[in-house]
Amino acid sequence: MTVKMSARHVSAYYGDLRALDDVSIDIDTQHVTALIGPSGCGKSTLLRLLNRMNDAVPGARVEGSIELDGQDIHARDMDVVELRARVGMVFQKPNPFPKSIYDNVAYGPRIHGLARGRGELDAVVETSLRRAGLWDEVKDRLDDRGTALSGGQQQRLCIARALAVDPEVILMDEPCSALDPIATARIEELIGALRGRYAIAIVTHNMQQAARVSQRTAFFYAGRLVEYGDTSDIFTNPRATSTKDYITGRYG
């Protein structure tokens, strides 16, 4: 088992508000790591720190170090664009570009120059859509607008868009919270299928989902990492009482 990303003593602030307090955690390849905890516990902040999406938030500040393959992502010679290409992200609400399905998936490879010529690009688009389990549904309507798809399809399109850049890590911020149960099931299935190739971190409010899809679980509470370990351990034998209260539905 190899560590893909590791955070050491990370604290994050929005202005004066401390959102994360001295968090250290590893994200491993070929594993799904679930970040759970009540609203405002800092799990989404941690996720956004991992590919520096918080750079654009005014007043946001971070301390500690985060490394990708042993390389500090805040280092001067680290290009944030390259970082985000290597660490892809899927958001809470499906947010396809208002372009065609094809262009949605092709956008990343195009701006990073990952495909030479139309033929290669076509291949990348097809592979990505296949991996996202969307190919059969959209192969005849690649020129339709991405926004015309159903919610679940849109989210899988967004996953395909992230896969097309050939990332090493995929971050998912409550990817199913806006979807119905059937679409959720398909995404969960997809996460399972993707696990073999990528390191995946997923933020979720849904305990069953965390238990179903992840191998590792980290429980956050009030900006602190309370407990981190194998999912089976955390759910069957939580050490902290707050973890136990949370996963048994006492609050959250």
């Binding site: 290009d79 664009v81 390259e82 990073h112 120059g113």
Partner: protein, 456 residues
Amino acid sequence: MKGSTLVILVVGLAVLFWQVARARAYQFGGSGKFGSLPAQHGWFAALWVLLPSLAFLAAWQINAPGMVTDAVLRDPAAAALPPTGLTRASLLAEARALANGTATGAFHGLARDLARRYATVQVRFNWIATAATLGLALSAGFAALAKVHSGFRARSQVERLVTLLLLGASLVAILTTAGILASLFWESGRFFSLVSPGQFLLGTHWSPQSIDPAAPGDSLGSLPLFWGTFFIGAGIAMAVAVPLGLLSAIYLSQYAASTTRRVLKPALEVLAGVPTVVYGYFAALTVAPAVRHLGMALGYADASGESALAAGLVMGIMIVPFISSVSDDSLAAVPSAMREASLALGATPAETVRHVLLPAALPGIAGGIMLAVSRAIGETMIVVMAASGVATLTANPFASTSTVTRQIVDLLTGEQTFDSPKTLAAFALGLALFGVTLCLNLAALGLVRRYRERYD
């Protein structure tokens, strides 16, 4: 070579370098995974070809006429020119026109001699400009091309340039403000070296047509103008516009059915889009004679066809849509909870408007009225066409009254020399006008912003 030809040539060069740089970048396959795309290398080279040479060309175009004139003046023939004054300027202008081929015959022999000189100097300068621009484009282009190798971060370089260009664009606003201030202060400074500020601001006699060169300040007292400006713009126009605008906003936002609203709102917007020259024509042709008859009927024997009332009335009509839309926005910004609370207490809609909505929206409306005043006193065409050229210090709305803007136009049209007290007075008036509107605008913007923050 003409400037436009040069620009086209430079753009052509940029396209060429774009191609070359991109082709080179293709050879080494971009800059590795997630590195810069070949096209970005192309843009890098193209921008370097374009920016320095075009910047140089722009600076050159601005400075060249002065440099050409200087070179011409070093010619022995130029010694025959009168040292200063109009004749010198007109001789030079004639020579320039001859050299450019815009004039056909010369009135003065001297101008013909100078024209020949002009032509040779211009040809020489032209060659210098062409050579320098193209040289700059080529050398910058090759320097950029030399940097194109694998591992070179063309994308971040290009993006830094683009960001700088965007920053430059946003600085244009500041430069404009600075330009306004500089030109107004500079010309006004020259004016105040001729006329004392006290005399100018507090004098009550304004008749620039009969300036006594020995004491220009005696006929350049601007008090009547400022009085007229405020009387028309802040007095009469607001007396018309504020009640009408406010009532129409209240009606539209509180009482009107949605279909009425759908028709009336665009109609008001149309009213706001009518050019002021049309209002001016309307004021001069239709309203002014009517006002004059009214004045006569009311017993004002001196009722003028260029009365303050006519200009003020039409200006008021022009401002109505502005006040109406600002008030509408302010009323809409009042939280509906406040309105519903009042209605729930059993207040009638009219009482709700009077006791709850208007007081709550007042700061926003007041800010809007200040902006409207600023607009009214800066309005030019209506007063140029309907108010008078004669400035009188009077509160009689039927008498002829003049305004600052009207006088600026009068002073600056017709034959001009740039340094007579008459034309410089226009800049002093402009400075005063700018100062007043600046204060009104800033105060109003502050008021509106504070008001917005309160309910957001």
